[in-house]
Symmetry: D2
Subunit: 346 residues, 4 copies
């Protein structure tokens, strides 16, 4: 039994960590912080947790977290980089769900996130927490940078193709659609139901913060820089990401069956990546609430353009679930412990 | 480990049984029937179950189910009454999620359901599966009639008041709102998203089949017939029932605090009925996917009119979850085995 | 052609006024104010108005509005009471969509709205803008207090019954459901899609600001105080109000047909109140975007409890449409000018 | 005043024609057919039309339509091709909203629509009713083939680029998202709210019937065959299409400003195509219920990949509105008569 702390427990990734950790057989949620709600019972803010979570919110201070074995940061960007160092110094493992340690190039990070990095030395040490790519490094890591939600869906969809060098990686396209919970639990006009229900739009087409993260990940897989156009969209639902990925086959001789085989082989031992039978279309509803990524591959009308469809729940495989998957690896637990959840359909 | 069969596995209550039974530590789902999909893998129809359910659909025949310890009927009305008898004769316990055995008065049942009853003798034996009322009888039952979704929410909301005789039970009002999954997984024009999204309406105001069931249940609690107006509504969401219940206090001296105490006391040992702190409004989102019923009590503006708010997930506490709760009781398992699920919020 | 001003043009009632006034043949929208967006083109904030509205937002000052013939207040409560007097003094008619002049009892208003009234003398003069009740007074009024959205739906549903004295008015119940646009265009956590989509809840059960307004209106119809329990609910859609109203017939001999006749007769000359054929259930989708109120009457199972269903679009008949209906009456236009809109179905 | 008939009045495009034609100052809706509902008042099926449409449904027979000046087909594919010839022979103009006359290559049509064409001779005569491309031909046409919803959004987005030869048209990508009303008013399991709400998926990736139509249209613009990958998606809302279009600039020197100018110039006289200011993202909510297409152009991160965003209401500019726009042109009316509708926001 390990003791876990959650910094930033009042956002959607925070409550989602609680939903899963509260039932994890080897974890005790010892500390949940919230500056605004310190002293209040967690289940008073989240009645869905009544009977399962008995703690109160604490102030987000290093001293409060000193008895933890692992601390999750479910905070806005810029917080984890201030607190990670003292926690690590106490021997506490840190799993950051924010973007603070995702980008290896500090200048690039500062450009996209609009602030100086407070802990640049830790960036190099941080392991990018995509288990399907970095499993071994994660097992021995002290500090994990959990991937963003869009980057998870996009990278898992492109991964086998880029590793195998099958597609022209200079003109990749990722047309991705997200539910509104990705905007977080913040009082913002643009996230009102009256502004997001019954409507569909793209946003940040000229540049979204997840672009450099995806580019970095795909570049590492390819061994060189890739060219990527990434267009995020907001879809009128709460949870779910659907990535529609486009890449040209380098070789017209390659059959869609062989690509299907490639995906199935690459992911055959992955508990949370599920390559659907050929011809099936994934639906975000089939992964809602679960840590699964479901993927399909198409080569429409025999053209050289390959289309990969990849769906996740942005709050689970795209955030809290993947964080717990990392935790399981770091502490030697079975990778799916506490994550044995079936999607809520319908 | 017991072996369970599900007759009618392609509806929403069927797949919901599978979602929970697949993770139940003491149950093996041995048989799932579907006339239309016989021979097809269950997870081909429900990709959310991939990796968790390996069986194929079978034809709905008694012989196929003969090795089961318990059989759930997640069928349209009129099926369970044909198959229950031979199953019981083989020593198999039967849990019926349809309405076949809910109404004790056969003529009344025929009137509301528009058919003759094929198994009238079993009606008397069937135990109405509302554990908060009939726990002991359920433990020794062979045949359970699971309550309908509306009846569950309404009866749990009125129960303490009627048992205690606190309200005038001649003019009870139940104004209840349901998500659209209550209409089932059937190709019907009225259940299209274009017909149900972004709109709100009442239906069946002149008489809904759940009216006699609720009236029977409340009457048994009261010890005499009650007067009830029941108005069901369709609300543009998939899961959830919200019952708003109105009853006049017989005695103006009774404080809302004492009513709150009455509810808390009545439900203090119930794992799945949660009386919220005074002044809190329940929200269906806080029970979505879980077997919980959350209840609040109000006495607005000091009037004699008491308002009780009661929310459940219609597919869980209103159907499949309650059925499993009954199964646990019948087989001597801990009542919340396999039902330790936290609601999916947001 | 009259010149209209809109104070508070950035809320949902403001943009809804613009949607309809921009196509009104006898109105020029001359001034639209917004403190935050002064100087910005209106259609830059509301791209739905591109090509139809050419003005820029102005600062909300009396001097800016001096050339108007009529000024609409689509502001939060507490603004109209500060500006109405100088505008009226200039001979400008004022139509207030906020609550500032709705409650005749100043002390009661202050109690519910939590502030002192800045213009108590005008309260007596203000005409409550429910044309179905006050048509003649509206025609000659200088200052209109437009009804709230809940009060419009509830009063139109109870009106014929209370005028005719058919129901016991000491225990009226109004169980009302609203879309989320009723919460306005404000950055509030509780109105996020993640907090309101796929969930249903009651709110303010102990006391909502529309309660005294409805009570006042029903009391005036009855000629004495009425007893009312009012429970508002939030339903996961953007537009629409559905009122489910309960009242006991004083006389069990009265048939539902005669009540149907009463409603049809009372509303036979009303352009915007539509009594549906007996047995039909109204749906908010059938009035979305239109100024219509659709009403049905039921007497379920022959009981003495009458159930009235009344639906409107909260932003149209519940706000901007009704305001324009009032304007038409005040300026001698045909009552449905600019309001000849068919609901957007599906 | 002309007399219009609508064949197939019970689908969503039928009722949408009625919503607009009922308020068109120069049109009388004389006949509305429905085999299933013949003899029933139209407003009994569509209560949103009460007070505006007084006719009853007729049987769909040529004789019934003989007094019409124009007949709209809002039918499933395969009906218009049977009835168009006799109607045209009587001097009646025909506007077909189905796919019967869209594809010039009869064999290609039969391949995609799975039936023989009953009226191949009329295909050549039929004018493809995209006014922005074929305005002059439409004015003198007897028979109009209205574009599909996806083809309208995609063609208007690519049109200026292809006409100007600015992009490589061998690898065009159209990633398009549609609301569920596009599936029509049919009782189908896949269109239930429980199956489409709160979920997002692609469908028909290997080949959708609108692919040959789009390819034909773009080919005619280009003067040669184009290469296109078209991926349709279902998004959980009722109305709206959002096309995200990708094409590589042939010449890296071309600035996004000059592309913006190209679009603005090309569409400067178009009443229903609105090029948004640079940097703005269109939202389907801003065209809901209106006949507008709103378009934006991006060149993200200075790459050679151009991204065009194009939104319409699938039932209006993608169906009924465009049909009326065609009718206005055919009868010499102002093009926006009866179409002066502002989108319903929020």
């Amino acid at each position: 039994m390990i003791r876990a702390g959650i910094v930033g427990g009042t956002g959607y990734t925070g409550v989602e960590l609680l939903r899963m950790l509260a039932l994890h057989p080897d974890v005790e949620v010892a500390v949940v912080t919230s500056r605004a709600d310190a002293g209040v019972r967690v289940d008073a803010v989240y009645p869905s947790l009544r009977g399962k979570v008995e703690v109160k919110f604490s102030l987000p201070e290093v001293s409060t977290l000193s008895d933890c074995d692992v601390v999750f940061f479910a905070t806005p960007n810029g917080t984890a980089m201030l607190m990670a160092e003292p926690l690590l110094a106490m021997g506490i493992k840190v799993i950051d769900l924010s973007a603070d340690f995702r980008i290896k190039d500090v200048a690039d990070w500062s450009h996209w996130y609009g602030m100086d990095h407070a802990s640049p030395d830790l960036i190099a040490e941080a392991v990018y927490g995509l288990p399907e790519v970095n499993r071994e490094a994660i097992k021995s890591a002290r500090l994990i940078a959990c991937p963003g939600c869009y980057p998870t869906a996009v990278q898992l969809g492109f991964l086998p193709l880029i590793e195998a060098g099958l597609i022209d990686d200079t003109h990749l396209i990722a047309d991705v659609k997200s539910g509104v919970s990705g905007a977080g639990r913040k009082a913002e006009l643009a996230a009102l139901m009256s502004e997001t229900g019954e409507g569909f739009k793209a946003y940040a087409v000229n540049g979204h913060r997840h672009l450099p993260e995806i580019r970095q990940g795909l570049g590492l897989m390819a061994g060189h820089e890739v060219g990527l156009t990434f267009v995020p969209h907001l879809t009128p639902m709460i949870r779910g990401i659907h990535a529609t990925l486009y890449g040209q086959l380098r070789n017209a001789e390659i059959s869609v069956e062989s690509v299907q085989n490639l995906f199935e082989t690459r992911y055959q031992h992955e508990a949370f990546v599920d390559v659907l039978p050929s011809g099936t279309h994934p639906d975000t509803r089939n992964v809602r609430g679960s840590n699964n990524c479901q993927i399909s591959i198409f080569r429409p009308q025999g053209s050289q353009m390959l289309v990969v469809l990849s769906v996740i729940d942005n709050l689970v495989k795209g955030a809290a679930g993947q964080a717990i998957q990392n935790m399981n690896l770091m502490f030697g637990y079975s990778e799916n412990k506490g994550l044995d959840i079936i999607a809520l359909y319908p």
